[in-house]
């Protein structure tokens, strides 16, 4: 199987800008075409382990990005999916982040065949740990740490489940570290090769941590949810991992979903299966090592 990294950088850049490339990301087959200077190399680095696809197929979505120019605003990039632009043009220097957020947007708006939770997910010994959280709660940082401490990355952004099933469908993607968490993860995983540091985005400074190669290679292996942990990073907080009841967990999971109301009863049934089969907790943490150790203990217990 050919991967993105098997292409010579010049070939990758040429294909990306001309006819585009097919890439499998979890259950999705994306066709990506981008003509933005400086984007090809970091994009190839982040996706080097992902399968390349031939073009003779029906893709899940065709995404594209190109440069634009404004009298006021200067050079910008325009993201489009299947020929439509879902939002305004963004600064060109943020192209990589815009493309990544664009892919998130496509998943969130398009693929209602899945119940989509705003959650990270990792796996160990065939059982999944689901980490639903609101933005800013330290979900991605914790997920990135776990993915480099013996857990398999399933997703840092989407907890995807087929309606009626408690199994997480992996969609491992580069993890967008933000602001202080960039330095935290550089210290936590010194060997990690982060993407370029992108400043001034709507979420502050962003740098992407690639998904571990082993997680990408096992992206077809689903895993049932065994634990649901609602994490919240809080400066100076003492570690607390406390069980919560099934009804509270049900409410929190349903509220966290992108498309609970859209799916209706299949979503209810999916959340019911999760809360019936998983142990649910609330986690408050300040220290990443302590949080990882607590979740390791949870999985080992």
């Amino acid at each position: 199987m050919r991967t993105v990294g098997s292409l010579a950088p010049a070939s990758f850049a040429s294909l990306l800008a001309a006819e585009g490339l097919g890439v499998r990301i979890g259950p999705f087959d994306f066709h990506v075409r981008a003509r933005v200077s400086g984007l090809a190399q970091p994009l190839q680095d982040l996706y080097r382990d992902y399968p390349l696809l031939d073009r003779e197929r029906v893709f899940s979505a065709h995404v594209a990005m190109r440069e634009t120019w404004r009298l006021r605003g200067g050079r910008r990039v325009r993201f489009s999916v299947d020929g439509r632009t879902p939002h305004d043009d963004m600064p060109r220097g943020q192209a990589l982040a815009v493309l990544e957020w664009g892919l998130n947007l496509v998943v969130a708006l398009r693929f209602h065949g899945f119940l989509m939770l705003h959650a990270a997910a990792v796996e160990r010994n065939g059982r999944a740990l689901l980490l639903p959280a609101a933005p800013g709660h330290g979900k991605t940082t914790l997920c990135a740490a776990l993915a480099h401490r013996g857990w398999r990355l399933l997703s840092d952004e989407f907890g995807l489940l087929r309606p009626g099933s408690p199994d997480i469908v992996p969609v491992p993607r580069p993890m967008p570290l933000k602001n202080e968490s960039i330095a935290v993860m550089r210290a936590f995983v010194p060997e990690a090769r982060l993407g370029p540091t992108i400043t001034g985005t709507i979420k502050g400074t962003v740098a992407h941590l690639p998904a571990p190669a082993a997680s990408v290679a096992r992206a077809a292996e689903e895993a049932p949810v065994a634990w649901v942990v609602f994490p919240r990073w809080e400066a100076g907080a003492r570690l607390a991992l406390e069980p919560i009841g099934a009804a509270e967990a049900f409410l929190a999971i349903a509220s966290n979903a992108f498309n609970y109301e859209t799916l209706g009863e299949p979503a209810f049934d999916t959340v019911r299966r999760i809360t019936e089969g998983a142990r649910c907790y609330r986690l408050v943490y300040a220290d990443l090592d302590e949080a990882v150790a607590a979740l390791d203990a949870l999985a080992g217990g």
Partner: protein
């Protein structure tokens, strides 16, 4: 109160409209007709699943609820049940039935 000054009688809508989760602990109800999810207490679940399978007024429902939960019958329990029934009616989970 209903027509002719007699208390209103209520019954749960068809059980086929309901799907339940976490039964017996902290019940969660999915109402198929409205597509809404409701977090209810054990008393409300008892009303919807058992007591109001047959039409009852608030007093009868309160008495059945007190018996079903082996709880002392509070003096204002019928008023509390009446308030719950009105709310459940708003949500489409119970309906009024004509006086016999």
């Amino acid at each position: 109160m209903s027509d002719r000054g007699r208390p209103a009688r209520w019954r749960a809508v068809a059980q086929s409209e309901f799907a339940w989760a976490n039964e017996g602990e902290a019940p969660v109800l999915y109402h198929r007709r409205s597509g809404r999810t409701h977090f209810v207490n054990a008393a409300t679940a008892l009303l919807l699943q058992e007591i109001l399978l047959e039409p009852k007024d608030a007093g009868e429902a309160a008495a059945a609820l007190a018996a079903g939960q082996a709880a002392p019958e509070e003096t204002d329990l019928p008023e509390q049940v009446q308030a719950i029934l009105l709310r459940l009616e708003e949500l489409g989970l119970v309906e009024r039935v004509p006086q016999p």
